[in-house]
Amino acid sequence: MNGDRRLFLVGLSHKSAPIDVRERVALTGDALKAALCELKAMEGVSEALVVSTCNRVEVFVHSERPDAARRFFTERSPAAGDHLYAKDGVEAVRHLFRVAASLDSMVVGEQQILGQVKEAYGLASAASAAGSYLSRLCNRAFATAKRVRTETEIGRGATSMSQVAVELVEKIFGRLEGRAILLVGAGKMGALSAKALAVLGADRILVTNRSPERGLALAAQVNGSYRGWEELQRLLGEADVVIVSTGAPTYVVTRESVQAAMKARRRRSICLIDLAVPRNVDPACAELSDVYAYDVDDMERVVATSKQARQEEAIRAEAIVEAEVMAFAKEREARAALPVLAQLRRHAERIARAEAERTLAQVGGKLDDKGRKSVEAMAQAIVNKLLHGPTSRLKEAASSGDSALPGAAAELFGIENEPAGGERREGGAEGAAAAPGAGPVRSQGT
């Protein structure tokens, strides 16, 4: 019989370790696969999972002792030791669920982390490092993340300037097919926003800059076409979204120039996004009708609002995670019903066989082969008939998550002294979630 195993987590993240420590232990591709095999080969480890992203490296092991996971880090970087956190049992389960649901991310509610955890699980499966326990755990984590995403609004709202730009433009124009984006100035934020806006499918990106060299370089970078600085006024009549980020200390786009441009564009709406500080777009432009003008402060305010809203949604998300952690723990506990069932059956069959042998020893001589077989069959039939009810009820209990019945059955039939029952009582709630009867469960091949 295997020893008692439970889930251990050792890891570091953006919350506990600086980037130079994280990058030393981060792993990808083949190195990650090798590390998984290495972990799996360690003594007492039955399953392993490594989540390695730019913000976190976390090692989950299903094992008898926690040291395997810790060794993973200390072997790679001694400096990592000071930044590690360790959790086990329900705590570790909760941690994985929170990570997958993006509650532990730098930007709460961001979408990438779930994909990264899925990928980590895929790798662990491919390397045969993840077995039945981690498979159940991860699937539950994915389901939890999905629930959080659909039942709360944690992923809503833009959390970066360029996302805000995309949201604003989408709100005004919908898709950008048949429209043009104009980049004024070669600022970095402008280029980022232009790239982000590509999702809306603009037909053309125009770039203009005081110095043609940088303008041309930027145009190449964003797949746009460069136009001379002197064309600015004409370009304002052409483009529907204008992103301004020059280093100029004054207004590059004035109220008068926009007013003239509106006439030229027959009052078609225009969106002016000013990413420069000091501002490059005269705030008075916003007073003109069909002109939508935003500056850095406006955008920052949107970012702050949606971050705040996400924090509020996170409270609801935590409740979902908690419920799922508890459900997972209960399910694990109920799985203890299956070993009890197997023991019960073994116990009964042992008795039946012994009794049949005893009977045959006494009267076997008077029976032919057929008669002997009948006696054995009768003993087996009695066992089957007697255990039919308890068997189906215990199976039902296991699938519905009821944990009281298996305990009662074990006690009633006097098989409680076997490992599954004993450990569970001792481990308390925490042990129940991660480990109960892990050995027997596995030995029965459930």
Binding site: T150, E151, E153, R156, L168, E170, K171, I172, F173, G174, R266, R267, R268, S269, A286, S289, D290, Y292, Y294, D298, R301, V302, T305
Partner: protein, 284 residues
């Protein structure tokens, strides 16, 4: 009997409105929008039955009264929105339309069905039926445009004023609302034009003259010119806020004239008394 069926329809409209408003408040509940759609479809069908039974009961004369006109118009409005929803999938618009339907329907439900009776022989012709239906549809489409324009203006205020509240995340883009408004105005104008043509044919037939300075005629032509101008203005680049405001004004004129002409006694021969040949139409 038809009043009872109409009340059932109103209850369905109320349920649809509730569903759409729930969807508006909680956009994640996509099922609420689906429920709203089917409830509205059911309400539309029951409403149709109420109109049919009403025809049999009152002889069809009720359509010449304000009550009957409104009942018919909101039925067409519901139908127009159902078509719109199928084509453009704009469930948030439902949260604006269904309460409007309900509001118009409520007074009609408890009001007096007017003077029941079979319309005079002279009015029982195809051109009158076409006139009533297309006029009703035209006004319903103008009403739909009104709701869309209202959504545009509310959202425009948020987007321009940099206040990103509840509407911001729920309504379609300004551009989409603007284009939809334009399409509805155009479709309504076409329907209204047909109504005027059918009306002219009828007038020529029963009043011996296509034009008799009847206030209803004057206002109808005024409305037709107003919406015709809106269709034209679009080609000269009018759009957005100004266009939306114009749409609001247009519908207020339409609805205002409808109510006034039907409630002031004797002002128009369209009120149900078609017997006279001159300006002597009595109270309905």
């Amino acid at each position: 009997m038809s009043v009872i069926i109409l009340r059932v329809a109103a209850a369905m409209y109320a349920a649809a409105a509730t569903s759409y408003i729930v969807y508006f408040a909680r956009p994640r509940l996509a099922r609420a929008a689906t429920a709203g759609y089917w409830l509205l479809a059911a309400a539309f069908a029951i409403h149709a039955a109420a109109i049919g039974v009403g025809c049999a009961e009152f002889g069809g004369r009720e359509f010449f009264s304000l009550r009957g006109g409104l009942v018919l118009m909101v039925w067409l409005l519901a139908g127009a929105y159902l078509v719109l929803q199928r084509r453009y999938h704009l469930p948030t618009v439902g949260a604006f339309i269904t309460p409007l339907i309900l509001m118009v329907l409520l007074p009609a439900m408890f009001g007096d069905p007017g003077h029941p009776g079979v319309p005079p022989e002279t009015l029982r012709q195809k051109s009158v039926t076409i006139h009533i239906l297309t006029a009703g549809l035209g006004v319903a489409l103008f009403g739909l445009a009104f709701a869309v324009a209202l959504m545009y203006l509310l959202q425009e205020r948020e987007v321009k004023g940099k206040r990103f509240g509840a509407l911001f995340s729920r309504l379609p883009s300004l551009d989409a609302l603007d284009k939809l408004n334009q399409r509805l105005v155009r479709a309504g104008f076409v329907s209204y034009t047909v109504a005027l043509v059918a009306g002219t044919i009828t007038a020529t037939a029963i009043w011996k003259s296509p034009w008799s300075w009847d206030p209803q005629q004057i206002i109808s032509v005024g409305v037709w010119i107003l919406y015709g101008a809106m269709v034209q203005l679009r080609h000269t680049g009018w759009h957005g806020r100004r266009y939306a405001l114009l749409t609001l004004v247009g519908f207020v004129v339409v609805l205002g004239s409808m109510v006034t002409l039907r409630t002031v006694p004797g002002v128009t021969r369209h009120a149900g008394d078609y017997a006279g040949s001159a300006h002597t139409g009595g109270a309905q």
